[in-house]
Amino acid sequence: MIQIIFHRHKCIGCNACTESAPGRWRMSHKDGKSNLIGSVQKKRVHIAKVGYDEYEANLEASRNCPAGIIEVNGQD
């Protein structure tokens, strides 16, 4: 499993993550920020544990995030 950590409150809603990993990210029409699908919220941080197969796409999402608020913790 890999872990995706998302600091949602700092999201500027640019849409880049949904382009890189469309299955894992979706823009909220409610507040214009991105949602990390299947995540659990702990205080202001959203965390999702997903399969290895999603590593590459989410790493790209993390690299492309202009706000630098997506962390992808590697395969174990």
Partner: protein, 416 residues
């Protein structure tokens, strides 16, 4: 000559907002949430802050403008409407927009609209087009004063009025950072870091120095002019009479990413200069004194922008600020004693002596600056204190616990 000039100040934080109001601005502009051009660099306010900002500013007779000027995607529309609805309910004076969806919605709900610099207005027909939505428009920063003047004259001649029925009022940038691209329409930051300037996420890589590599032999050339993409900062104070003579009504100061002391200094200099122009007491000597004062706070060196008809930009020869003064954080206020007009501070770092100039900033205090003439430690007068000590100082106006204490020192690198 006109009756009044509105000084519009940037408010990127509660400290800057207070500093702007105290320094004598007529209006402030600020962003909330993520749909503004400083989504990344300033500590933006939230929807919950709007009512308080509107109330505080109304009491001080200062108008409040909310920036909602990024490009908007479909997923932003609901938030855009929520921001405009909340602004309207909270009593915000106007919204600064560049996207047509935001203009149309604000008009629909009856919130006045100002056209943002992101709309790049450069001609009278465009003014006429936007007149259906807005009473106030900022012109593109790339116009010359002659071009500005011809637009304001034509507005009067054609009697172009906005939704209020009044003639369109024209606003221009008077001071602050300039962009290497046409007023913010830049792709550099998006290209290199996927961080779009047009979504308020500019990483300002134009401000750095670059090396050109010869692809054939690999030789690297450091570009002689060093910071070829980093424009110097706009400063119009020494020809503010000419700027006001064009018929503009509002002077906007750039800098939502800047500190409270920057906002205080720029607003008070332009306030005094604009008043001097209106009273016919503006002189080159006074202008030079204001310019010297402006150079004490953040700047990349000054130039007159495109207003006087220069074809090419003037580029900075260094990274970061050329301010002639630097402020060092040294501690925090613990308590203010109202009757004695004395404040207690805890010195966390550095030292403080009698004769030093200090700056105190806080969300409600704004900016207070003065020279220290007496320091007391445990009620006994001392000449100098070092970090770790608690001291009391007489302060010229009320400050608050947790306000930050800075020491002002000359920035020797930039003193010639």
């Amino acid at each position: 000559m006109q009756q009044s000039i509105e000084i519009m100040a940037p408010a990127g934080s509660p400290e800057s907002l207070t500093a702007a109001v105290k320094a004598g601005c007529n209006s402030v502009y600020f962003g909330i949430e993520q749909l503004n051009m400083r989504a990344r660099s300033s500590s933006n306010f939230t929807l919950d802050d709007l009512r308080d900002i509107a109330k505080r500013c109304k009491e001080a007779n200062v108008k409040t403008y909310l920036t909602l000027n990024t490009i908007l995607y479909d997923h932003d529309l609901r938030l855009m409407r929520k921001i405009i609805d909340t602004a309207k309910e909270s009593g915000i004076s106007a919204v600064i927009a560049s996207d047509h969806a935001a203009m149309a919605y604000a008009k629909q709900v009856g919130l006045p609209v100002h056209i943002s610099t992101q709309a790049n207005i450069t001609n009278i027909e465009t003014v006429q087009f936007y007149a259906a939505f807005a009473d106030v428009m900022v012109l593109s920063r790339e116009l010359s004063l002659n071009q500005v003047k011809s637009i304001t004259r034509e507005i009067e001649k054609r009697k172009i009025t906005g939704p209020s029925g009044e003639l369109i009022r024209i606003e221009v940038f008077a001071h602050g950072a300039l962009c290497m691209a046409v007023s913010g329409k830049c792709y550099l930051s998006l290209h290199s870091n996927n961080a779009s300037a047009n979504r308020g996420a500019c990483i300002q890589n134009c401000r750095r120095s670059y090396i050109v590599t010869d692809k054939e032999d690999g030789h690297e050339l450091e570009i002689d002019n060093e910071y070829i993409m980093s424009a110097k900062d706009l400063c119009t104070i020494d020809f503010l009479d000419k700027v006001i003579d064009t018929g503009v009504r509002i002077l906007k100061i750039e800098g939502r990413g800047r500190s409270a002391d920057y906002v205080h200094t720029t607003v008070s200099c332009y306030r005094q200069a604009a008043d001097a122009v209106l009273n016919n007491t503006f002189t080159p000597e006074k202008a030079q004194a204001w310019k010297n004062e402006l150079s004490t706070v953040f700047n990349r060196g000054f130039w007159d922008g495109y207003y006087l008809g220069r074809k090419l930009g003037e580029w900075s020869d260094s990274y970061g600020s050329k301010a002639t003064e630097k402020k060092h954080y040294i501690g925090r206020a613990i308590k203010y004693f109202r009757k004695a007009e004395v404040a207690e501070f805890k010195l966390e770092t550095g030292e403080l002596s009698i004769g030093d100039t200090i700056l105190i900033t806080g969300p409600t205090t704004g900016v207070v600056r003065f020279e220290v003439d007496e320091i007391r430690e445990a009620e006994l007068p001392v000449n100098m204190v070092k970090k770790g000590h608690s001291i009391s100082i007489k302060v010229p106006e009320r400050i608050r616990a947790s306000d930050k204490l800075f020491k002002i020192e000359p920035n020797e690198i930039h003193l010639n």
